[in-house]
Each structure stands twice: as structure tokens, then as C-alpha cells.
Amino acid sequence: MNRAGYDRLAAAPGGAGYSLADIRQEHQARLGMWVFLATELMFLGPVFVGYVVLRQQFPQAMAEASHLTDVALGTINTLVLLTSSLAMALAVETARLGARTFARRALWLTAALGLVFLAIKGYEYGMDWREHLFPDARFHAKDVRDQAGARMFFFFYFFSTGLHALHLLVGMALTLAMARTLAASPAARAARRLELTGLYWHFVDIVWIFLYPMLYLLERWS
């Protein structure tokens, strides 16, 4: 869309209250966010390609190593993260409708659930560390014949979940910043910025939706 397009939009019925600059900024910010998410997707892409190669190379060891992860905690974390996305979606919608107090509470809930996720993940990391599952020189996977393959699995496990946790931290920082500034900024602007934060939050959530079966559910009940 070029400037003539914005002119038309601003003149259209329902466009009241929006200036040309507002509409353009909204378009720019949304496009910028989607381009950024495309970058993020390509950033994580090689991690998934690496996983496919490992799974091909060590089918047995990958499955056996996967059984050493704590599936109960992984499942609880998946539920926590999905619920946080629900809270974020509610925040985005309610902010758009102008119910800012509700939106702010939903944002606090989103960030709190993010924190719960990280706490559970940290507890899991601690257990893994004590069981010598961190892929350094002391690595030892109990009851797995192919130690090299298992070590590769846990390298992937720590690399991907660590990267995911970093992204989640960024998302939490954004969410908290939104919650703090929501009341102060003009309604339309706040709703727009919140929508972009929401896009990012859901992206981080979707990444986990793929990581969860890849790490926790490999041939678990077969």
C-alpha cells in the first residue's frame, strides 16, 4: 500500500479518529513484525534441520535418550504455555475493545505463566544436571547403549530449549513493558503495540508446540 492507499483508508467511513500517519505507522509496524518473524523462523530452521539429521543418524539412541526427559513436567509446561497464549489473546482483544483494566490483568497473567514455565524448566535443568545429562565431558545417559547418540540428543535438547527460554524472556520483558504502559498511551496506539507483542508471544508458543513432541514424546508408548 502506498500513500494514496492510506489517504483512501483515512477518508473511508470508520476511519475516523485515525490520522494518515497513524494508519501508516500501524501498517509499517505490522509489516515489520511479520518480516522479523520470518527472520526468526529462518533463525530456528537449522535447529530443526539438525534434529532431522540426528534422528536419521541415531534413531534408537534418540528415542532412548528421549525417555530420560521428564514427560510429566514437559506436558505441564506445554499446558502452562498454551494457557499463557490464551491470556495474551484475551489481552489483545480486550485492549482493542477498550477494556484496558482487564487487558492489563491478562498481561500480568501472561507474564506470570511465562515465569512458571521458566521455573519448571529451570527445575528440569537442575535434575538433568544432577543426572549428568548435560552434554559436557561428564555426560552419562543411564541405560542407553549408544552414549554418543544420547549425548547428541541432549545437546539438541539444551540448545533448543535454551534458545526457546531466551525468546520467552524477551517476550516476558515485552509483555511487562506493555502492561506498565497500557494505561498511559492512547488507546488505538496501545492496542496496536499490544497486537505486535501478541504476535511475538504466539510465535514463541508455536515453537514450543513443535519442540514438545520432538523432545518428550519420541516413541514413548510404542
Binding site: M1, N2, R3, A4, D7, R24, H27, Q28, L31, G32, V35, F36, A38, T39, E40, M42, F43, L44, G45, P46, V47, V49, G50, V53, Q57, F58, P135, D136, A137, A148, G149, R151, M152, F155, F159
Partner: protein, 532 residues
Amino acid sequence: MSADAPSYLEDGYTLRSWLFTRDHKRIAVLYAVSITLFFIIGGCAAALIRLELVTPQGDLVGADTYNRLFTAHGVIMVWLFLIPSIPSVLGNFLIPMMIGARDLAFPRLNLLSWYLYVGGGALTLCALLLGGVDTGWTFYAPFSTLFSRSHVIVTLLGVFVVGFSSILTGLNFIVSVHTLRAPGMGWFRLPLFVWAHYATSIILVLATPVLAITLLLLAAERLFGVGFFDPALGGDPLLFQHLFWFYSHPAVYIMILPAMGVASEIIPCFARKRVFGYRSMAYAILAIGVISFLVWGHHMFVSGQSVYANVVFSILSFMVAVPSAIKVFNWIATLYKGSISFTAPMLYALGFVGLFMVGGLTGLFLAALAIDVHVTDTYFVVAHFHYIMVGGSVMAYLGALHFWWPKISGRLYPETLGRVAALAIFVGFNLTFFPQYLLGYEGMPRRYHAYPAEFQLLNVLSSAGAGILAVGYLLPLCYLLWSWFRGRPAGDNPWHAQGLEWHTRSPPPKDNFDAPPDGGHDPYDYRPERTT
């Protein structure tokens, strides 16, 4: 035109007004200064390499130092000079003006990307000062992860950070071209320079993150010794090569597409003719951008990947030649029956077309499986990619710098010296790199500091050429600096060029245009009678 508002150069003289500017033109100048510094450092490494290769024995530097020299040369020239060269300097300066905007869509992000570039560059320099890296710019695993005893991680980190600077620049360009075109400016009224940068930006945004994460994996592997890429531990070194070239082949197009955009602006202006086949040029740019993602495997023909993969990558690599040839034909057709004037920028642009053609045609040799086996890792490959990167991109960068110099500085560079430098660079370049084709074809491998005596004659020729090339590069550095302060005022449009960026003052005011620019403007409205 009114001269009420001060030009962007007169808008504050303090260091602060430069370092905290959000003006795309000032950020472009910051980029120009910083990439020139890195070009000089990378050039010094190249000079030492060529000096060492004058004699067959390894007498100037030892094997280990030599490895560190060509790695420094490669890393600095690729990531700290070529990739940001045309996009970050001229793209940054010109794209907003060419689309009739005041600035890029995200000015603060633009400044941030310069700081990321400087930060990443500083890290890379640190690694160099600590003693350098000996892996080659390709960082092949498992050498880089298990065996190299040099500063790999600091260098990886530097390149990682510079990568994010590229990504942010690409993102900024994409959003700007989508949202900031002046009223009336449809996609097919964009100058080809903007088209080329649009395609480049897409590659920057989609390919650079793949390199970033690959370097992160490499660093993690080196830190923990996991063996993700190490065959001895069950890892896969080909995986690293695939991921690396998935970025690094498109990276070649990050370097050459903007150069093509430059040639498409300079040639019509000095042939006083509309660019031939505008739409086919735009589509060819997009086609090159798309195919660039599908050819990375041609760097791995002898790596042991499957024969079927080799055949497919070979065919796809041949396909890049089609849109590239369309562009060359169109440039020549633009020249046909034009009123050509051989100014310095035009000499660079013509040099670009010729050298790009030689580089491109030898690329076809390398895309052919049987010949590639013979010349893999020889000087033939070195000559080929230098024809594209130096003969292509650097020639175009210098041409662009001369062409838009009056726009950027408001001054004229000395024309005679400009032509002399362009010729010196053309002659010096060919003398440096043409012998390397012959050396490679006869079997001299790359990356060795000593060689059999029978190769000496061609190596001496090549080193002599490098001397001429160095003089050719130093000349513009000196006279452009001089003309920035002392050059003759250029007037607003010394070339009678048609691009929208020339329809304002030179140097432009802070907001680029005094009056709202006309989006329906035709950037290639050249006619022979306009020549002066």
C-alpha cells in the same frame, strides 16, 4: 528551488549530531567511513598475501601466518566490506530519496544497525589483534571446532553481531519500499536500483539468520566438544557445509544484486537512453533472488554429497545464468545507439559489465560437474569469485560513489583523475586475477603459502597487477577526500540525471525534498538531445 532549510551536512556540526543522528543520509556517511577503514585493513592482508606469493618458497611469512592472513582478508572483505558496501552506504542514502520519502520506515533501527555493525566489526578486529584465525572465512567443521588453536569464537561472535546489522537493514528497506513510496509511485515506476535492493533485502532477512544460528551451533560445539558436526563422534560435517552455504551462496547475490542496480542507473544516464527492457530487468532481479536460494550445493560437488544432489544443484546453477544474461543483454541494448559519454562513473559501470560477464561465464565452468572436479579448490575458483566480488561489486561500488558523489557531498570530484583511477583499477584487476584462472587450470591449489617454481611467472604477474590495483584504490581515496572539502561545487544535477533523487538540492536538505515529490515521475526519461 528554495534554499531555506539547511542541507543535511549543515544540520549540526558536533560529533553528537553525527553519532546520534537518525537521518538516513548521515547514517550512510557513517557507514561509508567505517567500511572504508575495514576495506583498508582487508586490503593490507591481501597485499601481504600477494607479496608472499611473489616467490615460490614461503619466505615472507610462515604457513600459519599465511592462513591467518587469508582468513582475515576473507572475513573482513566479505562481512565487513562487501555485504554492507552498496546497500548500507548507497542504499541507505538513496532509497528514501528514490521513492520520494523523508527517511526510512524505522530511522532508529537504522542507527542501531550501524552500531551493531561497528560492534561486530570491533569484535572481529579484537580476534585479529589477539592473533587471528586460521580456519578460512568458511569456518569448516570439524577443523574450526576441534583442531584450530586460534580465536575462532571471538570471530564467530563478531560475524554473528554484524549479521543482525544486515537483517535490520534488510527489514528497514522492505518496509520502506512497501509503505513510503510517494503518491502515484507504483511498483513498476521504481528505479531498478530500488528493485535490486528490495530483492537483496529479502535475501538478507531470510538467509542471514541461518548463518547466525549455524555460527552459534559451531561456537557451542567448540565450547562443549559435542560433535554435532564431527564425524568421529557421529556428527555430520556436511550438515555444517549445507547450512553455511545456504547463507553464503545467497550472500554472493547480496553483493552482486545492488551492483546490478547501480549499473542500471549509471548506464542509461550516460548513454542518454531509457533503460532497455525495464520490466524484464525487474523480473530478472527477482528471479536471481529466488534461484540464489536453490544453488548452494554447487560449493560441495566434491564433498561427498549424493550424485543426484550434485546433478540437481548443477542444473539449478546453470539456471542463474538466464536472468543474469538477460541483464547483460539489456545493458548492452541500452548502450546501443545511445549518445555515450565516458565519464568516470560510466567507465566503472562498463568495467562492471565486462568483468561480471567474465566472472559469470567462468561460473558456468564451475557449475559443470566434470570441470568442477578438476578445478575445485584451485586458483580458478579464486579468480572466478574475485571477478564477481571485486570486478563486479567493488567496481560498481566505486562507480556509484562517483556517480552520486555530487549528490552526497555537493562537490565534483576531479574528472581526469577519476578516469585514470577507473582505468588503473580495470587494468590492475585483470592483471591480478586473469593469471589466476590460468594458474588454477594448471592445478595450483588455493590457500598455500608456497608453490612449485613452474607457477612463478603467473604469480609474479598477479602480484604486479595487485600493485597497480592498490594505486587505483588509493587514488579515489585521496581525491574524494580532497574534493569533500575543496572540490568545485557541483550544482544540483551535474549529470542531468532523471532519478527522483536528483530532483532536489545537492546535498539534499534534512527532509530530502523542499516540495512534495512527484510519485508519477519517470526515472529513465532520457533523450539524446538532452546532452550538453
